[in-house]
Amino acid sequence: MNIIPGFFYSKNDEWVEVKGTKATVGITDFAQNSLSDIVFVEISVSEGDHVEASDLIGTVESVKAASDVYTPVAGVVVAANESVIDNPELINADPFGKAWLIQVENEDGIDTSGLMNAEEYKTYCEGRG
């Protein structure tokens, strides 16, 4: 299982990469692996929407499960990844890279309090077998 150092992680298996006042959000390798083949991705927010931490931003669906995705951080949505909507299998192939879901910006800075770091997330995943 892959975990990227330097990213932040939520208990719902989303990751956040922070660069200045911008953050990129996606779902983790652990999440894609337990869902198996992803067949559908819906992003339910669009550019300009204001999101709070834990707001629903979309759904990821495999043949055996559908999982809601929440943003772990607050901000204004500045981009939604169109290519992952067209190619849901990207999530299985590259969950931390090409399969990012949204980018948000927050001029007051990205608040990552309450999120796990890579080490903590690794322990969290191992605890779930």
Binding site: F40, E42, L56, E61, S62, V63, K64, A65, A66
Partner: protein, 454 residues
């Protein structure tokens, strides 16, 4: 023993294999004071006895086959071709379970795939599901879809007073516990006021969905094309409840711009059976398909390279999503969907056009005849399909009682559902009403009972 094959010897062998003494030992987990209660029922019967008793009960009923039927209002007396009962009586179809094991369920799965295709083609839509319980619950499910489409932010569902009152009632039952949703139905004033124009003024930014019926409850037909544009301009979804036979002739909801099409599939070869089981049609634009509840069959291939079908998009459904599912529906009306598929395949393009045309022509003949009877007045002033409302000179219940004496099942007494519509009868005519029967009906209505032999 009835339907239980075990001999006493086999039973004893099985008890011994389990390692218990008696049948009663199987139920030790049930607290003694609740175990083996007294059941006050009759003793069992043989098939010969049960058959005779049921036949006698059935004979107490008046079958529409033995009268001349002008009653419709959401359930219609059409001819059911012999092929249908022959095919759906095959045990391989009707004693099968839901096709969760596609390797040994391709009969059911392909049947549903063809049904979905037929309903999509008939309604002019891109997608259809494997069915809902009936026309009313299909309307309610459309309302739930609309609620979720706007994530609960739009709270109003605007319903035409031309929607079957039972359907509106069921929408109310289903949706009243959804957070703040309200169903708005303009009060019925007169038939002339049930128009798309009058509904259009009530659409606002709060509206999640607008629901109309086509033909409407009173038989009226409107072209909803412009209306659909108004609905869409306000950002709402447009849903039409249809009669599938009428679509043999009429412009499709798809052409008019509907987002969702629901309807009662009973006219497609399903017997009246006192109101059920029927068939809830449900079709939609393709981009809504993941929000459509209920089973959906999709095409795929098996590991031998054969084209095949499976239940798909199941991740939306209750057995996987549990409390996050948009609906609790589990079954579909499998056998009735198959019935509809066989009916549409058998009649085909020409047959469906023919039956729709027969209904249309005969209804118009009947309306014309009735409008000439003194005291009777056809209320429909716009085009109608096979049903129309008639103002009568006396309470409809009295007229119907009189008609029944002459072997005629009259139309619906509209005051039963819309109290302000006193002395108005809703009359339905299908291919099974002969000219002679229509003439007789008019003759009895006009009070001329000479030459009556019944």
């Amino acid at each position: 023993m009835m339907f239980i094959p075990h001999s006493d010897a086999e039973r004893d062998e099985m008890l011994a294999a389990i390692g218990i003494q008696s049948m009663d030992d199987l139920f030790e987990a049930i607290p003694k004071r609740y175990r083996f209660p007294k059941i006050n029922l009759h003793e069992g019967m043989t098939e010969i006895e049960a058959s005779a008793q049921l036949k006698e009960i059935a004979e107490a009923d008046l079958s529409v086959e033995d009268v001349s039927c002008f009653l419709g209002a959401g359930a219609y007396h059409h001819y059911i071709p012999a092929v249908i009962d022959n095919l759906i009586s095959r045990g391989e179809f009707y004693t099968a379970y839901t096709p969760y094991q596609p390797e040994i369920s391709q009969g059911t799965l392909q049947g549903i795939f063809e049904y979905q295709s037929l309903i999509a083609r008939l309604t002019g839509m891109e997608a259809a599901n494997a069915s809902h319980y009936d026309g009313a619950t299909a309307c309610a499910e459309a309302g739930i879809l609309a609620y979720h489409q706007f994530r609960g932010k739009r709270k109003k569902i605007l319903v035409s007073p031309g929607l079957h009152p039972h359907y509106a009632a069921v929408m109310q039952t289903y949706l009243e516990n959804f957070d703040g949703v309200h169903i708005e139905i303009p009060e019925f004033k007169s038939l002339d006021s049930v128009t798309p124009q009058n509904l259009a003024d009530l659409i606002d930014e709060e509206t999640a969905m607008v629901m109309v019926q086509y033909p409407d409850f009173f038989g009226q037909l409107f072209d909803y094309s412009e209306f659909a544009e108004i609905v869409h301009a306000k950002g709402a979804l447009f849903c039409m409840s249809v009669n599938p036979i009428a679509l043999g002739l009429l412009k499709t909801p798809g052409e008019m711009g509907a987002d969702i099409v629901v309807g009662e599939g009973q006219p497609l070869g399903i017997p009246l059976s006192l109101g059920g089981p029927y068939l809830g049609l449900f079709a939609a634009k393709k981009d809504l398909i993941r929000k459509v509840s209920g089973r959906i069959v999709g095409e795929t291939v098996d590991n031998r390279g054969q084209k095949a079908y499976v239940l798909t998009l199941t991740a939306r459904e209750q057995h996987i999503r549990r409390e996050k599912a948009t609906s609790n529906i589990c079954s579909n009306q499998g056998l009735n969907a198959l019935t509809a598929a066989i009916y549409l395949s058998l009649l085909g393009k020409k047959g469906l056009q023919d039956v729709a045309r027969l209904c249309y022509d005969k209804a118009h003949y009947a309306a014309e005849r009735i409008s000439k009877i003194p005291g009777f007045h056809v209320l429909n002033s716009t085009p109608f399909f096979h049903e129309f409302a008639v103002a009568c000179p006396a309470p409809v219940s009295e007229i119907n009682e009189h008609l029944l004496h002459h072997g005629i099942l009259g139309g619906l007494d509209l005051s039963r559902m819309i109290p302000s519509l006193q002395n108005v009868m809703l009359i339905a005519v299908t291919e099974l009403n002969s000219k002679e029967a229509i003439d007789d009906f008019c003759r009895i209505l006009s009070g001329d009972e000479n030459d009556d032999e019944s």
